[in-house]
Symmetry: C2
Subunit: 446 residues, 2 copies
């Protein structure tokens, strides 16, 4: 076994090699740390990283395996955690100077589940300020002059730069799908309520989702399977039978998938490269894709999303706003102040739009289509790091709590990745991953 | 079998006699109809009643029994439905002239469940306007000069006057417990989310509960057992294992119950008769009751309740307000207009208070007490029918979604019933009924 490029392994490959005793977790983590030493100065994906502590976790995992005790599906595999999830052993600063040095004493549910699956918590990754718009220090690993996207900037960049095979992020508007698209990795935002958000920064109960980053759909399925579950501390999670994500995502679809190409009003903002790329995909798919018009009521979704997000952010961040308003960026202050002025009736009216929209989309899936095909962003990563780009292609699906995945299938004329977004039926997460794998294989074959 | 006073039977007795073929459903319903002819002119409990249709349902039930097919727990037993629950075979006017002649085409979930249990839907009972404050025509069967309470006025009065053994009501503030107390019957408001509210008038998702009326705790348990359940159309219901309400309510408590007597700020409004009555109960209970101070934060509960109720009513009744504001009473208009002005942040702040209060009360139950003892209303039914009285003793428990029951254990100096309210731990509904039966038996024995 060649031990120099272990950091390039997929999580599934790495977990298998560790399980079989071919490599140790310490070797894998050392390789990731070497890669980090090499590329981190240019990328700056990490908010907190302690190489010794990472290696200590890896050695403990190796010792445990040697005792013959049962090991988890991610045993010895390093995972990066966006710095809005509480960790008992790392600071958690939410991307804000107000929380400098903040050290929670408990793990977020997703972190606890990762540890239970044997994962090594490699470190905390850079987030924008409170997972909103104001960027952190991270740069796009494909080109440091360009934004990595946000708000899960460090998680997307760390996976793209092969510093770690898996990372946790979040999405309240476009915070997983957009950085995944800009950095050229697979990003996955599951159905709302599928993964617990307990002890993660709460911006908006109605819109907050846990997001996931990997370099393959198989790895996304592997980590999702460990994280899905009921948590009495997250009122939007529900008890449900376990879903064999890895198995379903790996299967051939029983019927050739049908795609609904939906432009949405954001299509007007797409650049030439994106238009050309989608024309190419649509040509490849032939009779397996049909353009579908968005029902007219959904055109207000962006307005409803802003009403809900600003009102819920104003409530969730109220104490911070009251005590430390001077420590907030102007953008965030504006958003909170806009939310503070919102009327309860407008907020509730926006919330009541969600269910009818979900039902309209469900009909689409029940009648004919396996997934919606749409861009992940209007363009490849824009130049400059003062903005994290346009989340508009994610807003509607986040509002409806529908699962979506971004695949790095296209490329701009200057060689930057362009993300293709597939959106599935609510609670059809495993099937969406299977459809995504089918599409990725088809595009790779042509 | 003496067939003249069948209308006085409990639902459990009647169901048993019908099952055993001792009486028919038609005989029972005829007796109820005769009682209605006698007392309805003075009470005016009914919004819609069709004696022929009631008898037709009863005869159909009798025929079904004779075929030997399995029959439900309420087979042939008449039940009254508050006129805010949709019924496919009766008008549903929500107590408002705006809905005069409105005929839904489907049953509310509770109505469908009652039919599935074999019940005869006897008719629809009077509600205040949209289950809010403006009274209907109903009078208190104990004394027609006094209010029956509201908003479930007709349901409470019909059961109290022995026109029907069981009735369905609702509670968003005090709409079940208060009329039960004023009319001298048992009223039960289960834990929020235990019984589906689908196709009932929606005032406030956070506060709306289905309520139940009977003349005994055993009958409350019998009907509750049929109505509890998950309904995918009511997002606050949850799948759960069936609860044997009748069996648990009938058992002796394994330990002598301990009561926490909580006055709440509303105690300042209680009259002499209520104070004397509670002094008597407390003396009877001796060391089984302790006065407990309400934690200070709960004193704002009445304000939070009003914020939530007015904001959610403004949203739920928005279309009616827009199209028919002139058809609304001044009180209701004021409430909606107050809700329309509410800020989303104040509304959300009120909502976030609920969980911490629920946890404080849960501690009380886990540490020492089986039930909270408190009045159902500040006095017996006030004189006059232009108001439905003071709901203040119900507000806190409705806000917290805790189960509560009103027992007609006391009497005012002029012979009107005074309700004793017991409040239980959330989801401890069956145990609360068992405790209530114990208290009723103890008070009857002394």
């Amino acid at each position: 076994m060649e031990l120099t490029n272990l950091h390039s392994l997929s999580a599934a490959e790495a977990a298998g090699l560790i399980r079989d005793g071919v490599i140790s977790s310490a070797q894998l983590v050392e390789s990731c740390l070497a890669r980090i030493r090499e590329v981190e100065p240019g990328v700056q994906a990490w908010a907190f990283l302690d190489p010794d502590y990472a290696l200590a976790q890896a050695r403990a995992a190796d010792e445990r395996r040697l005792t013959g005790q049962p090991i988890g599906a991610l045993h010895g595999v390093p995972v990066a955690i966006k710095d809005i999830f509480d960790t008992a052993d790392f600071p958690t600063e939410y991307g804000s100077p107000i929380y400098a040095g903040h050290t929670p004493s408990r793990d977020a549910t997703v972190v606890a589940l990762l540890r239970a699956a044997g994962a090594v918590i490699l470190g905390k990754t850079v987030t924008t300020e409170f997972a909103y718009f104001s960027p952190g220090k991270t740069r796009n690993p494909q080109n440091p002059e360009h934004t990595p996207g946000g708000s899960s900037s460090g998680s997307a960049a760390a996976v793209a730069a092969e510093m770690v095979p898996l990372a946790i992020g979040s999405q309240t508007n476009g915070s997983t799908i957009r950085p995944a698209a800009y950095c050229g990795v697979v990003g996955f935002k599951p159905t709302h309520g599928l993964i617990s958000r307990y002890r993660a920064l709460a911006l908006s109960r109605s819109l907050d989702h846990v997001g996931l980053f990997a370099r393959s759909i198989g790895d996304i399925a592997l980590i999702t399977e460990r994280l899905v579950g009921y948590d009495e501390n997250d009122p939007d999670t529900k008890p449900r039978a376990p879903i064999p994500f890895s198995q379903i995502a790996a299967e051939e679809p029983p019927l050739t998938p049908m795609f609904a190409f939906i432009k949405t009003p954001v299509w007007a903002r797409t650049d030439e490269d994106t238009k050309l790329g989608f024309a190419e995909i649509i040509e490849q798919l032939g009779s397996q894709v049909e353009e579908v018009e968005l029902f007219p009521s959904a055109e207000k979704a962006w307005e409803w999303h802003q009403t809900i997000m600003s009102a819920e952010m104003a409530s969730n961040l109220e104490r911070i706003w009251q005590r430390s308003v001077g420590g907030l960026s102007e953008q965030l202050r504006w958003q909170i102040e806009s939310g503070r002025k919102a009327l309860a009736i407008d907020y509730q009216r926006a919330l009541t739009q969600i269910t009818p929209m979900q039902e309209s989309f469900l009909e689409l899936f029940e009648q004919r289509y396996d997934a919606i095909l749409t861009p992940a962003a209007p363009s490849a990563a824009p130049k400059g790091i003062s903005s994290t780009g346009d989340p508009g292609f994610c807003t509607l699906w986040t509002l409806c709590g529908m699962p979506s995945v971004s695949l790095p299938l296209l490329e701009s004329s200057d060689g930057l990745p362009i993300g293709v977004q597939l959106v599935g039926a609510r609670n059809g997460d495993a099937k969406l991953l299977r459809t995504a794998r089918w599409l990725a294989a088809k595009m790779a074959a042509t």
